[in-house]
């Protein structure tokens, strides 16, 4: 174990580029699916991220009366930083930006940071729809965070380490997803919830006019949109060492397997999220505490028993 090499800091630029390309990719897929549903050509819809980027680069930034400018900037900037912090501990084959001994906890800490970002984005503009988005996100964070935390624990317990590289190396031949599918599903639910888009993200949505996005324009909006696409990708990327066997696989080199697995999972999450209607926070709370949390705990129990028996 521990065959992961920590690379020099400048490589963070490569990570940012990869993350950006993947974020464009998932947004393009989403645009293509939306265009097809509306009876239009999917290839035109796939250009959506580029067109939207051009539009927002050209648009002016806008503020509201008595806005909390500092907190608003923290939120907007934080949205692009958070996914980078997440992928920093994900090994790309044998290389990793930060080979932290508590990588799993680090990821968990960053996903809790998303609470702060969404709340500040809701609070900052001093406007009703944004604030409502913030309220609703916090309500639903209570539903997904604990199950997500226990879902993250299961692979770490199996590997006997919180180092992400160790967890990836602990599943030769048999990826964790095979024998801890419940934890995997709960984890993916958490990713859908913290990526601030789709059925499990009441912070936005048509019914509150975009919620935390309602008052953002121009570059501010672009950063938040990019950041939330990045969060989905980072969530998918972190599942690779945790559940999908990391870089292991036939023929291709490890780093390429990590990218392929990340892309496939991210695409699957996009498809799933399109098929579901918005789930209201109170509905999701009931699901989170009566189904997801017990299921995640049971999964953890099973994993722990297996680990004890095996040793």
């Amino acid at each position: 174990m521990g065959d992961v090499v920590q690379v020099a800091v400048p490589w963070v630029l490569l990570a940012a580029v990869l993350l950006g390309v993947a974020a464009l990719g998932v947004t393009a897929l989403d645009g293509a699916l939306a265009a097809r549903a509306a009876g239009r050509s999917a290839s035109v819809g796939a250009q959506h991220p580029l067109v939207e980027t051009a539009r927002l680069l050209r648009q002016r930034r806008r503020t509201t009366v008595a806005a909390d400018t500092l907190l608003r900037h923290v939120a907007v900037g934080g949205f692009v930083v958070a996914p980078l912090l997440m992928v920093a501990v994900v090994p790309l084959g044998e290389w990793v930006l930060a080979d932290a001994s508590v990588g799993v906890v680090w990821f968990n800490a960053v996903d809790v940071l998303v609470w702060v970002l969404v709340w500040l984005a809701g609070w900052g503009p001093n406007a009703a729809w944004s604030l409502t988005g913030g309220y609703r996100f916090l309500a639903q964070a209570m539903a997904y965070e604990l199950p997500l935390m226990f879902a993250l624990t299961a692979p770490a317990v199996a590997a006997g380490s919180l180092r992400v590289g160790d967890v990836a190396a602990a599943q030769p031949g048999l990826p964790h997803v095979v024998w801890m599918p419940v934890a995997f599903v709960v984890y993916c639910t958490g990713v859908l919830a913290f990526s601030v888009r789709g059925p499990l993200s009441p912070a936005g949505g048509a019914a509150i006019s975009g919620g935390v996005l309602a008052e953002l324009s121009g570059v501010d909006r672009l950063l938040v949109l990019a950041g939330r696409a990045g969060l989905l990708v980072a969530g998918a990327a972190f599942a690779v060492p945790l559940f999908l066997g990391g870089g292991s696989g036939p023929l291709l080199p490890g780093w390429l397997w990590v990218l392929v697995k990340t892309a496939l999972l991210a695409a699957a999450l996009v498809v799933v999220r399109r098929r579901l209607p918005d789930v209201r926070p109170e509905r999701f709370l009931a699901l989170g505490w009566t189904v997801l949390l017990p299921a995640a705990l049971l999964q953890l129990l099973v994993v722990s028993v297996v680990v004890v028996v095996r040793s």
Binding site: A34, Q59, R62, V65, A128, A214, D278
Partner: protein, 427 residues
């Protein structure tokens, strides 16, 4: 420097305009125009904007009456820019109007001049102090209806510029957190002279209008793909006179394209086919367990139908009962949204007097919304399929906007911090 960047700016502008976000403002009587704009947006690859901050352009659909002046001006002020505006009162005007918007948005010099001419600070912002930032009152507190915790109380007008919202409807709400404490209904009317022609336009489009309302509910519920299907059917169900003028672009349910292009009118066969498709869509919505689950009310202790001191006293005496009442009310509201949605998708349902139905629904609305959260409120309002263009003059007088800014019967000294959030841009 600026000169050398010109070609790049032009490329950027051209790409940007391909994805123009258009804020749709429907005035009573502008339904057909709004549907035509929506259709044209899809054809162009444009999209509807979710808020003024999200919008590059605003299109007023229908002919606004006098009461609209300030609303439209405020909306225009809130748009970040580059920005453009247009108004259409008939489907035939739509292609030209959208061309005009594109040209205006591409005109860098004019947009620059517009940006330079705007103040950085909204006109009516005053110098504030600690208790009145920017001259606004702070939000006041009031007990939350759900659990007795004190929440900020906000005065928030919902509408009339709100996507998937009845034309001209303004709900002056008092929100505690995201829960409606009080609400008052106002309707901003269309220009009186246009109302007769709107009557003409309404004939024979009932199925289309109900499909349109269903699409709005589905969009608000986040079921975008099902909503897209409903919009598709709506356009196929429109009487020929209300379709946009290019027959090539007239959408139709699958298998109907040939029928549509051969005869422009909504013939009997075609109407039959649309009804069949609508019934199938209804079945799809009815069978969807996910949708039913998402629309059903959760079992959390919720609101009571009373408010303020009254509710405190009542809660102290019989908290259990009140919560049951509130829970029941919310559950019923959610059930109603689903029932109403299924009713809208029922091609055989009849709506004989939309005017009277709308008036009754508007009168009952404030009471119905107390204790309901904003999302449920918007779903309910959409599902009620309120036809403000079918209201008579005396109805409109009953719901006329009032000058006084204060809420009726408002005993709390709640603030106004969020009611007027004008946007302004800085470059």
């Amino acid at each position: 420097m600026a000169v050398s960047l010109r070609p790049l700016q032009r490329v950027l502008a051209r790409w940007a305009v391909r994805g123009t976000a258009v804020l749709l403002v429907e005035v009573p009587g502008g339904w057909a125009a709004r549907a035509a704009v929506e259709r044209a947006l899809v054809e162009r690859g444009w999209r509807a904007a979710s808020s003024p901050a999200d919008a590059d352009a605003v299109v007023v659909c229908g002919t606004p009456g006098e009461s609209w002046g300030e609303v439209l001006e405020r909306t225009w002020e809130q748009m970040p820019g580059p920005r453009a505006r247009a108004s259409v009162s008939a489907p035939s005007e739509v292609p030209g109007a959208l061309e005009g918007l594109a040209a205006s948005l591409l005109d860098d010099d004019a947009q620059r001049a517009d940006a330079a001419s705007r103040d950085l600070v909204p006109a009516d912002v005053e110098n504030g102090d600690d208790m009145h930032p920017a001259g606004l009152d702070l939000a006041g507190g009031e007990d939350d209806l759900r659990d007795g915790l004190e929440m900020d109380v906000l005065r928030v007008p919902l509408g009339p510029v709100l996507p998937d919202w009845p034309a001209g409807l303004v709900l002056r709400t008092v929100l505690s957190g995201d829960v409606v404490v009080r609400a008052r209904v106002e309707v901003l009317a269309g220009a009186a002279a246009r109302r007769d022609s709107a009557d003409d336009a309404r004939r024979g489009d009932d199925v289309a209008r109900r499909l349109d309302a269903a699409a709005q509910v589905l969009r608000l519920a986040g079921a975008d793909d099902v909503a897209a299907r409903a919009v598709h059917l709506r356009d196929a169900a429109l009487p020929a006179g209300l379709r946009s003028l290019s027959p090539r672009s007239a959408p139709s349910p699958s298998g109907l394209r040939s029928l549509l292009t051969s005869s422009r009118g909504a013939g009997a066969e075609e109407a039959h086919e649309v009804r069949g498709e609508a019934a199938r869509l209804r079945g799809r919505v009815e069978r969807s367990r996910v949708l039913a689950w998402a629309l059903r009310e959760a079992d959390v202790a919720t609101s009571s139908p009373t408010s303020g001191a009254e509710s405190d006293a009542a809660q102290a005496s019989a908290p259990g009962d009140l919560r049951d009442v509130g829970l029941d009310a919310r559950r019923r509201t959610r059930d109603d949204v689903r029932t109403l949605l299924l009713g809208l998708l029922d091609p055989d349902a009849r709506d004989d007097d939309p005017g009277r139905r709308t008036r009754a629904a508007l009168e009952a609305l404030p009471e119905r919304l107390v204790g309901v959260d904003v999302v449920t409120a918007r779903l309910l309002v959409a599902a009620l399929d309120l036809r403000t263009d079918a209201l008579g003059d005396d109805d409109l007088a009953a719901f006329a906007p009032r000058d006084d800014e204060d809420e009726d019967g408002d005993e709390a000294d709640g603030g106004d911090a969020h009611a007027h959030h004008h946007g302004h841009a800085h470059g």
